[in-house]
């Protein structure tokens, strides 16, 4: 349905419910939708499952959401970083659950959710502790792990430009998880540096078609 242009980040995250699974874009701070996460903290939804590559950096963005006690579980590939002290503390106190997923499998499970794939056999992690308890199958002489789609109720992503139909382009490696998460959630919210008129983006270079994007908010650079 038609993409909604929101006046501010608070309007963009309105209605997120307690217990939601929230996909949060970004790789480190590149592509991290900080304004949307700040708005989500104000909005108040709690008991969240957050899916993101990392588990927060420093004290802002995802780290602030964790510090506010809103996150029940983190699904990510790389929680341990030099500046991930908020997550570290909560995890060691047993106040947040962790599901660790190899980075490519994390991306592919969200892609499967967006692409209507019921499950897929993936060689990554076969024979390692991250495959424990999972169904496996030998295909072409190689062990594969059966992986299931990972869906969000909401996706919060950061992009570079949107047109008024919600078509998105990203900038350099800030693209990372945004285009995948945009396909995998019921409600997709994008913060962008700039909203441009319809027709201003090159149709050959649109990365996320507006079809995937429910709400857009311009936050400047």
């Amino acid at each position: 349905m038609t993409t909604l242009l929101c006046a501010d980040p608070d309007e963009a995250v309105a209605g997120v419910r307690d217990g939601s699974t929230v996909l949060v874009g970004g790789f480190g701070m590149a592509g991290m939708p900080v304004a949307l996460i700040d708005a989500l903290i104000r909005q108040g939804a709690t008991d969240l499952t957050v899916v993101s590559n990392n588990a927060g950096n420093g004290d802002t963005g995802l780290a602030a959401l964790l510090a506010a006690g809103r996150v029940r579980k983190v699904v990510c590939s790389f929680p341990r970083q030099a500046d991930s002290w908020v997550f570290d503390g909560l995890y060691r106190q047993g106040r947040v659950e962790l599901e660790l997923v190899p980075q490519g499998t994390l991306a592919e499970r969200m892609r499967a959710a967006g692409a209507g794939i019921g499950a897929f056999y993936c060689p990554t992690g076969a024979g390692t502790p991250l495959a424990e308890g999972k169904e496996t199958r030998e295909i072409d002489g190689r062990s594969h792990v059966l992986e299931y789609p990972l869906r969000g109720d909401v996706a919060l992503i950061g992009a570079y430009r949107a047109d008024r139909m919600g078509n998105l382009v990203y900038r350099k490696t800030a693209r990372n998880f945004g285009p995948v998460m945009a396909t995998a959630a019921t409600t997709v919210v994008a913060q962008v540096r700039e909203v441009v008129d319809v027709g201003a983006l090159d149709p050959e270079a649109v990365v996320t078609p507006g079809l995937y994007v429910d709400r857009v908010v311009e936050v400047g650079s």
Partner: protein, 231 residues
């Protein structure tokens, strides 16, 4: 349900047939059918129109509908057929007909295009059919005749993936038999996937309980059900 007629297995059911409105004086031609389908597509929908008659639906969408057309060969915001200088061999619809591009278009490759379809991101698709069953099974890719060359294209992907599948077709085959059937005899495209059937004689909602008559054209619901019963 209460004011409409339920046609279980097409042919019979606890009917309130007299409550079904006849909304046109005669059977509809393909343009009138396309206009009816267009009327029922919500504003702002993302829609795929199958090749053949469903393509006509585009001509009946109001200019301000905000409906965005998808073509499975890799484009959103497809415009009308190209004419004259607009013809570009690199820009066609799924029927290989030259088309145009509207502002806000996006191009993508086949895996992305069908991920979009299979992933449930299209609101509506409109398809033609050989047969549709009262519970919404669809047969539209193969007659099953021994000398026929089967071709499926994106029909199964659309039938499986779109949130709502509308079918438009003539209700009766050339030999007079109904194409709305208790169970398809042609090879299936998808199971329980069609939610609404637009025909020249009537519109039906389809579902697990059977076909529900919504409106008829040029005949009463009672007369139509009788004819279906004979078909």
């Amino acid at each position: 349900m209460s004011t409409h007629a339920l046609v279980a297995g097409v042919l019979a059911g606890p009917a309130d047939l007299d409550a079904v409105p006849m909304t046109a004086p005669g059977p509809l031609d393909k343009h009138a059918m396309a206009a009816l389908v267009a009327r029922d597509i919500p504003a702002g929908s993302f829609v795929n129109l199958g090749i053949g008659q469903p393509t006509l639906v585009a001509e009946h969408l109001p200019a301000d509908s905000g409906v965005v057309l998808h073509t499975e060969n890799g484009m959103l915001n497809m415009g009308p057929a190209a004419v004259g200088d607009e013809v570009d061999p690199d820009l066609t619809n799924a029927g290989k007909i030259p088309v145009t591009e509207l502002p806000g278009a996006a191009y993508f490759h086949h895996a992305d295009s069908f991920a979009m379809m299979r992933g449930g991101h299209l609101d509506v698709c409109v398809l033609g059919a050989f047969q549709v069953s009262a519970r919404g099974d669809l047969a539209n890719w193969h007659t099953g005749a021994p000398d026929a060359i089967p071709a499926v294209g994106g029909a199964m992907d659309l039938a499986t993936g779109a949130r709502q599948v509308f079918v438009m077709m003539t209700l009766f085959a050339k030999d007079g038999t109904s194409k709305l059937v208790p169970a398809c005899t042609y090879p299936l495209t998808g199971l329980a996937c069609v939610s609404r059937l637009y025909t020249d004689h009537a519109v039906f909602d389809l579902g697990p309980d059977g076909a529900v008559l919504r409106e008829t054209f040029g005949c009463s619901a009672r007369a139509l059900v009788e004819r279906l019963g004979r078909g």
